[in-house]
C-alpha cells in the first residue's frame, strides 16, 4: 500500500486523537477533529493509505477506542511508532488497524512517500531508497489482524464452535 508519512513526536495522547468534546458524537464527528491539537489540518489532509509515524508511547491516556477508530476511519493504513501505550495498541488491533513497532525511524520526514508491506515487515521510503524494518507482531495478534479485528475473529471462532457442536 502506498501513501505519505505523517510524522508525530512522543506521547501523542488519546485526548488529541479523540477529543472529549466530540465523544458524545459519532465517529464522523470525532474523526474530523482527530489530532487537531497537535496538527489542526490532519483530518483534512490525510488520505487513505497514508501512514502515521510517531515516537514513543503513541496513544497514551484514555481507553476510548475511538482514538484508533478515528485513524482507521480516515483511512490511515498503519501507525508505526517506537512504542505504543498498551490499551491503544490492543484497541487498534481489535479494530483492525495495524500498529507496528520500530526503532529504525531516524531520517523519516513528514510527507515522505512510502510503501507499506506488513507481511514483509517493511516500510519502504520510495524516494529515499531506504527500508525501515518493522518488528513482527505476536502470532495471536497477526491472526486477529488478518481476520480484520476482534469481532470478525470472534465470529469465525463462534462459527467453528457451532460447526464442531453440530458435527458431534
Amino acid at each position: 500500500m502506498s501513501g505519505r508519512i505523517f510524522l508525530f513526536g512522543d506521547d501523542i495522547d488519546t485526548d488529541q486523537l479523540a477529543p472529549g468534546e466530540y465523544m458524545k458524537g459519532g465517529i464522523e464527528m470525532l474523526a474530523a477533529h482527530c489530532l487537531e491539537p497537535a496538527r489542526p489540518d490532519f483530518a483534512k489532509t490525510v488520505r487513505p493509505g497514508d501512514v502515521v509515524v510517531a515516537g514513543r508511547n503513541f496513544g497514551m491516556g484514555s481507553s476510548r477506542e475511538q482514538a484508533a477508530e478515528a485513524l482507521k476511519h480516515l483511512g490511515v493504513a498503519a501507525v508505526i511508532a517506537r512504542s505504543f501505550a498498551g490499551i491503544f495498541y490492543r484497541n487498534a488491533i481489535n479494530l483492525g488497524l495495524p500498529v507496528l513497532v520500530s526503532d529504525d525511524l531516524d531520517g523519516i520526514a513528514d510527507g515522505d512517500a512510502a510503501d507499506l508491506d506488513i507481511d514483509a515487515g517493511e516500510l519502504r521510503l520510495t524516494a529515499k531508497d531506504r527500508i525501515v524494518k518493522l518488528e513482527p507482531l505476536p502470532d495471536n495478534l497477526k491472526r486477529m489482524l488478518a481476520d480484520g479485528g476482534l469481532v470478525p475473529h470472534l465470529k469465525k471462532r463462534f462459527a467453528a464452535e457451532r460447526k464442531r457442536e453440530a458435527g458431534q
Binding site: D11, D15, N57, M60
Partner: protein
C-alpha cells in the same frame, strides 16, 4: 525442611489462577477467565450492545458485570442525556448491577463491595488499575475488547513483569498520594510502566489509607503500566469489611521475596515535597516550591484521584474560614454520593459553600471534558485530577496544572499556585 517453591510476583499469582495454570512466566501470552467486568456509560452499552448483536450472543454471566454511569452524568447536553437514557434502558434489559449517578466508577466499584483481593478484573476505562489497590489484577480495555469479554468471559493477556516501587519511611505533613504519583510520573516518565505491572510497597504505602492507595493504583495508568498493585493487608481487609464485603483468603497474595522483577525503584517518602505538574503532562512535575509565580483562574477539586472523602477533608482544612481569591472560580465534584453525604455530615460541604465554591455532580465532570462544563480559552486551572493533556478539560489554549487537593485549595485561596504548607500548622494532625 520445606520444599522450595517457585518465587513469583503477585501479578503472576493472580493471572496464573485466572488462566487455570500452576504458574505463568512473564512474556507468555495466556487466556484468562474474567471474574468481573466493569463498564461505564461512555464505553459501555452504547458501544458494546451493537457488537453483541452483531456477534449474536448475550452476556456470558450478567452477575459478573457492573455498569456505572459517570462520564455523561449529569446529562447536561442533549447527546449526553440520550446516552444516559440508553444506558439505563440497557441495564434493565440486560439485568446487570447498575449504579446510576452515584459517583465515579473507580470509586463506586469498591465502595459497593464489588472488588476482592485476588480477582482478575477488566474495566472499560483506562483508570481501571485503581482496583489494584485492593489486590485485584485490574486493567482497562476499549469497548470492542470489552464486548469480547462480555461475550466470552475471557481475555488474552501477555503476562507482565513487575516493576516494584518502594517508598521508605513516612510521608510528611501536607504530602499525599497525589504528590507521590506526580513525582513518579516526572521521574519514570509516562511510559515508565512499560505496560507491565507496577507494585507499590514500603512503609509509606503500608501507612496509607485505602483512599490514598487507590490514587496510587489509579495513576499507574499515567505511568503507562497495565496494573498498579498493592498487596492486601489488614487495611484492605478492614475497608472491605466496612463496605459489607469479604477480603477472603488474602494472606498469600503477595510478591515472594526472591521473585524475579523487571525493575525495583526505591524512594524516600520523608523528603518528598508537595508536587505540581505543569501543562500539558503529569510528567512535567516539580516540587511546588520550585514553580515560578503562576496566577490561576479556576481551581478544580474533582475526579477519582482527587475528590474522595479524605481529599475533600484535606481541602476543607485549608478553606475553612477563608474565601476564594477575588475572581477565582472553585468547582468541587465529590467523587461519589456516599463521600459527599459523609462530607456533608461532617460540615465539609458547608466549608466549600462558605468559601464560595460551586458544587458539581458526583461524576467525571471537567476531568473527562465530556459535558457542557469545560475550561474556556486561555484559562489557567489548577486541578486535583490525574491528567492535564492539552485540550482534555476544555479549550486547547487552556493550561492545566495538577496538584494534590491541599495544593489546589491553597491556590484557590491565594489565586496563584501555592505551597499548602503555608496554610498548615506543623502541629496539626494529619487528616
Amino acid at each position: 525442611m520445606a520444599t522450595t517453591l517457585a518465587q513469583t510476583t503477585l501479578a503472576q499469582k493472580i493471572i496464573a489462577r485466572a488462566a487455570g495454570r500452576d504458574t505463568v512466566t512473564p512474556g507468555e501470552i495466556v487466556t484468562a477467565k474474567v471474574d468481573l467486568a466493569m463498564i461505564h456509560d461512555s464505553g459501555g452499552p452504547r458501544r458494546v450492545e451493537p457488537i453483541l448483536r452483531d456477534l449474536g450472543v448475550g452476556l456470558w454471566d450478567r452477575e459478573k458485570v457492573v455498569l456505572i454511569s459517570d462520564h455523561f452524568v449529569p446529562g447536561d447536553t442533549d447527546e449526553g442525556a440520550r446516552i444516559l437514557e440508553l444506558t439505563r434502558r440497557w441495564a434493565k434489559e440486560r439485568k446487570v448491577a447498575f449504579h446510576d449517578g452515584e459517583g465515579i466508577c473507580h470509586v463506586v466499584l469498591p465502595e459497593r463491595g464489588h472488588l476482592k483481593p485476588g480477582m482478575f478484573v477488566v474495566g472499560g476505562d483506562s483508570h481501571s488499575p485503581t482496583g489494584g489497590a485492593f489486590g485485584a489484577y485490574m486493567f482497562g480495555v476499549g469497548a470492542t475488547e470489552m464486548a469480547g469479554v462480555l461475550a466470552t468471559g475471557e481475555i488474552w493477556i501477555k503476562v507482565p513483569g513487575t516493576i516494584l516501587i518502594e517508598w521508605r519511611n513516612r510521608l510528611s505533613e501536607a504530602v499525599t498520594a497525589k504528590d507521590i504519583m506526580l513525582a513518579l510520573c516526572g521521574r519514570l516518565g509516562m511510559d515508565g510502566g512499560q505496560y507491565q505491572a507496577v507494585e507499590y510497597t514500603g512503609e509509606a504505602i503500608s501507612a496509607l489509607s485505602m483512599q490514598e492507595r487507590m490514587t496510587l493504583s489509579n495513576m499507574a495508568a499515567e505511568l503507562g503500566a497495565q496494573a498498579g498493585l498493592i498487596a492486601p493487608d489488614e487495611t484492605t481487609a478492614d475497608y472491605l469489611k466496612s463496605v459489607g464485603g469479604d477480603a477472603g483468603d488474602w494472606q498469600g497474595l503477595r510478591t515472594d521475596p526472591d521473585a524475579d522483577l523487571l525493575a525495583r525503584h526505591v524512594f524516600d517518602a520523608a523528603t518528598l515535597e508537595p508536587q505540581v505538574a505543569a501543562p500539558h503532562s503529569p510528567a512535567n512535575s516539580a516540587p511546588v516550591t520550585e514553580v515560578p509565580e503562576t496566577k490561576v483562574d479556576v481551581a478544580y477539586i474533582g475526579a477519582c484521584t482527587g475528590a474522595k472523602y479524605e481529599d475533600l477533608k484535606r481541602a476543607a482544612r485549608i478553606l475553612k474560614g477563608r474565601r476564594l481569591a477575588p475572581g477565582l472560580q472553585l468547582m468541587v465534584a465529590p467523587a461519589s454520593k456516599r463521600y459527599q453525604d459523609r462530607a456533608a455530615e461532617d460540615g465539609i460541604m458547608q466549608v466549600f459553600e462558605d468559601a464560595g465554591a460551586e458544587i458539581l455532580a458526583n461524576a467525571c465532570g471537567i476531568c473527562a471534558g465530556y459535558g457542557s462544563n469545560r475550561l474556556g480559552e486561555d484559562v489557567t486551572c489548577i486541578s486535583s485530577t490525574a491528567r492535564n493533556f492539552k485540550g482534555r478539560m476544555g479549550a486547547a489554549s487552556s493550561k492545566v496544572w495538577l496538584g494534590s487537593p491541599l495544593t489546589v485549595a491553597a491556590s484557590a485561596v491565594t489565586g496563584r499556585i501555592t505551597d499548602p504548607r503555608d496554610f498548615l500548622d506543623s502541629g496539626e494532625s494529619r487528616p
